[in-house]
């Protein structure tokens, strides 16, 4: 079974899904990611799905589940690079990915996490 690599960049974990995920792979990714978040103490998870052309309700739920898991572990999940066709499909399926933040591309996703951190840094000292 193919495993999706999880990359660490600073305190952000980046997952780039380049293959058509099967159900088994999705479950493995969820476990791997949870382990990686705990191990690295990451505060952000970015899932890049720019190479994903086909989604179904299962993948949609996977994204929501990963977001929930990460939130429990105090890391924010950002889904980046969703293709227009994929977005339309998800909307037609009635999935809004509640609780998952999105960004147009990886760069903007990282910027989003940094923005949040800056806001936090300002708030903490007082």
């Amino acid at each position: 079974m193919e495993r999706v690599p999880i990359l660490k960049l600073g305190d952000v974990l980046i997952v780039s899904i380049q293959i058509d995920l099967q159900d088994q792979g999705v479950l493995a990714l969820q476990e791997d990611l949870a382990d990686a978040v705990v191990e690295s103490g990451a505060r952000g998870v970015i899932i890049d799905i720019s190479a994903v052309e086909i989604v179904d309700s299962f993948i949609g739920r996977m994204l929501a589940t990963i977001a929930s898991i990460s939130r429990v572990l105090d890391a924010e999940t950002i889904v980046v690079g969703m293709r227009p066709a994929v977005a339309i499909t998800l909307v037609e399926l009635g999935l809004s990915l509640g609780g998952v933040r999105t960004a147009l591309n990886l760069e903007k996703g990282v910027a989003l996490l940094e923005d949040r951190d800056n806001a936090r840094a300002v708030a903490v000292p007082r």
Partner: protein, 287 residues
């Protein structure tokens, strides 16, 4: 078909072949008279000869009439281009019956006369076919045009760095909204814009379906990481929306495009200040 019928059919085929020149000449005369001198006799004659020969081939070879149909389709197309109505073309094809009938009457054969009934049906089919071709061609033109209209009427324009606008004009239906949605989302990806303004000033009416489409577009844009503002909501439309009980949820709505632009600029951290010399000074908050 009975053996008897087959014999009749064979007889009329032979007759058509033997009297080819005579029938053709007569056919051209009748068709020319019906067209009222609008047709070019030389060209039309050549075309009719081709059709006649294809008809003979089709009759003797049985069911395979691809050749004949191709010629008829071409005839129908050319006639239409030259300004003839589809009825003119059908009459032209049908007039071969008259020419053939005259020949049969002259030959005074009962067998051929019985075969004529069958031949008449055959020609009727051909005439109907020219009509069908005409309608199909027309329909194709109409679909092409509505497709072009669809593309023309949905531009995505860039208002500012990172801010797109879609001015919608005309009635929104499912097909159009689909195109708008796809174009907008595609443009968001291509330009890397995080804000989009959907301006519905030019939309005459908003019903639940249109609202549903708008909501879907906004939701899809959100999934991709872009925020949409709906602007250009006129008082009557605001009234309709409330009366219909449509919930826009947390989607930002503005009454005018300029308000929406101001909102999008604020969201993307651009500050506008009016200078003393009344020049608008633009500064970006983020480094």
């Amino acid at each position: 078909m009975t053996v008897h019928g087959d014999a009749d059919r064979l007889r009329i085929e032979t007759l058509l072949r033997e009297q080819e020149e005579r029938i053709l000449k007569r056919w051209l005369d009748i068709a020319g008279a019906a067209a009222g001198g609008r047709a070019d006799h030389g060209v039309l004659g050549g075309r009719m000869r081709e059709i006649y020969q294809a008809m003979l081939r089709s009759l003797s070879e049985g069911d395979d009439s691809t050749d004949l149909r191709g010629l008829l389709a071409e005839l129908s197309r050319i006639q239409a281009r030259e300004g003839f109505t589809p009825s003119d073309t059908a009459v032209l094809v049908l007039s071969v019956k008259e020419a053939v009938y005259e020949t049969i009457e002259a030959s005074e054969e009962t067998a051929a006369l019985r075969g004529y009934i069958w031949f008449s049906k055959f020609v009727d089919d051909l005439a109907l076919y020219t009509f069908e071709t005409y309608v199909t061609a027309r329909e194709k033109i109409i679909t092409d045009q509505s497709e072009q209209l669809l593309e023309l009427s949905t531009p995505v324009v860039k208002l500012w760095e990172g801010i797109l606008a879609v001015p919608l004009v005309g009635t929104l239906d499912s097909a159009r909204t689909q195109v708008v949605m796809e174009k907008l989302l595609q443009a968001l990806v291509e330009t890397g814009s995080e804000h989009a303004v959907i301006d519905i000033t030019g939309v005459p009416a908003v019903d639940t379906q249109v609202a549903q489409h708008l909501l879907k577009t906004v939701a899809a844009a959100r999934l991709m990481g872009a925020e949409c503002v709906v602007s250009g909501i006129r008082p009557q439309i605001a009234h309709t929306i409330v009366t219909l009980g449509i919930e826009f949820g947390d989607i930002v709505t503005k009454s005018s495009l300029s308000d929406a632009l101001a909102h999008a600029l604020r969201q993307s951290g651009v500050q506008l200040t009016q200078g003393a010399s009344k020049r608008v000074v633009v500064a970006t908050e983020r480094a």
